[in-house]
Symmetry: C2
Subunit: 248 residues, 2 copies
């Protein structure tokens, strides 16, 4: 038996947003590794071992996956969204680079998925329809001054901006500071979308102006999108449409 590792993106939550490529890989896997709520999305079956672990053990998970594959297992490391966007792919390559030379001969593939910001953007309209950036607001792995510098430069570049991990229990104050910086750089009229648990039964969308944005509008399941200076709303019955025109 020849082992392999796929780092597979499960998309934001709905089954209809899981690619056939990922479904096929899960059907062939002997082992699935990942954070508890993502592993819970994979159906149990004979011959499949599920390894669910808690958050913040990304490197352990990566080493475990590579070790199993080197033993001949067919391993799927699962992330929500896209594994290459603030998820398990970089952690796996960190472990690969630091690990034994023979791991480099393994069959390793990243299988893309629908990442949270694109699912959220689609639900709201097309706020990322022009140039944009994606920033992880967690300061677990980078210093806060770098986040602040990126926010200011991104605002000056007039990018639309998507924020992952806006708020967690361990960093309750960071997102409030980010909102203050954005108000300073972009003004209070700028549109901001809070998109929570998109494509799941708990989905909630909320669009406000920056001067109405409060830190507690985001939690760990929220992706936040701030429009560029050109982003606009089309009002209509029900949810308005948030979009950034193609021209600037």
């Amino acid at each position: 038996m020849t082992g392999w590792v796929v780092i597979a993106g499960l998309g934001p939550g709905a089954e209809g947003l899981v690619t056939p490529e990922v479904s096929d890989a899960l059907a062939q896997a002997t082992d699935v590794i990942g954070y508890i709520p993502y592993v819970a999305r994979v159906a149990e079956r004979p011959g499949l071992t599920l390894h669910a672990t808690d958050n913040r053990v990304e490197l352990d998970r990566a080493v475990h996956a590579l070790t199993l594959a080197a033993q001949g297992k067919r391993v799927a490391v699962v992330s929500s969204g896209d594994p290459g966007v603030f998820a398990m792919a970089s952690a796996l390559f960190d472990a690969l680079e630091a690990g034994p030379e023979q791991w480099r001969a393994l069959d390793i593939r990243v299988l893309p998925g629908i990442t949270a910001m694109l699912a959220a953007a689609a639900r709201a309209g097309a706020p990322l329809g022009h140039d944009f950036c994606a920033i992880n607001l967690s300061d677990n792995l980078k210093p806060w001054p770098l986040i602040e510098r990126r926010l200011r430069l991104a605002a000056q570049a007039d990018f639309a901006m998507a924020f992952y991990n806006p708020r967690s229990r361990s960093r309750p104050e960071g997102f409030g500071r980010a909102l203050d910086i954005l108000r300073e750089e972009c003004g209070g009229d700028r549109l901001i979308l809070f998109a929570r648990a998109v494509s799941t039964p708990e989905e909630e969308l909320r669009i406000v102006h920056l001067n109405q944005a409060m830190p507690d509008m985001a939690d760990m399941r929220t992706v936040v999108i701030v429009g560029s200076s050109r982003t606009r709303l089309i009002e209509r019955a029900g949810q308005p449409i948030l979009y950034t025109p193609r021209s600037a």
Copy 2:
């Protein structure tokens, strides 16, 4: 019959990267509208009318879609990749905003897809594993000085960068200027990925340093990713792995 419009992303090319949600919508549509090579990816069947048009008529296509839906048709506007990333969703909302009031009552949904930069990143490793931006290098709809300003600010923010539409016949010189700016801001050692026709039989990946990058390494089917200062290569037999670590 109640009409609707979906703006659906077909992904980068492979069938395994089309979401079930998009496949279901195509199976229910009465009309498919889009650029010739994208409409060619939709199977013909009785009851389905295919409307393939040439490039650069995005607004005409959007008006056509909304007009048909208002007549009760079930219309799928197809884009490659994700329709919300430099594709048809913003064009459709431009047309909606400028069009008759009653169009706003239509059932309009954006169905996300695997966008080119994420498919390319997955194939190469995880170059977008940390903060990044996406810039459309076409100056059809925005002035060149704005592109240049965004490139410089993005480099100063130390984003990894993905470039869509790097090069076309009508703008042969723009991409060369972009590469010059990037060498100025990032230095010649920075890693750059040229990913052409990812997930199709014509797929080609090429990773070089900025001082080796030439404009003709990109064409209309290429997405270009420039690493951040932290982006690195893992050498191994065959294609090396390009990735950006999680920490910065």
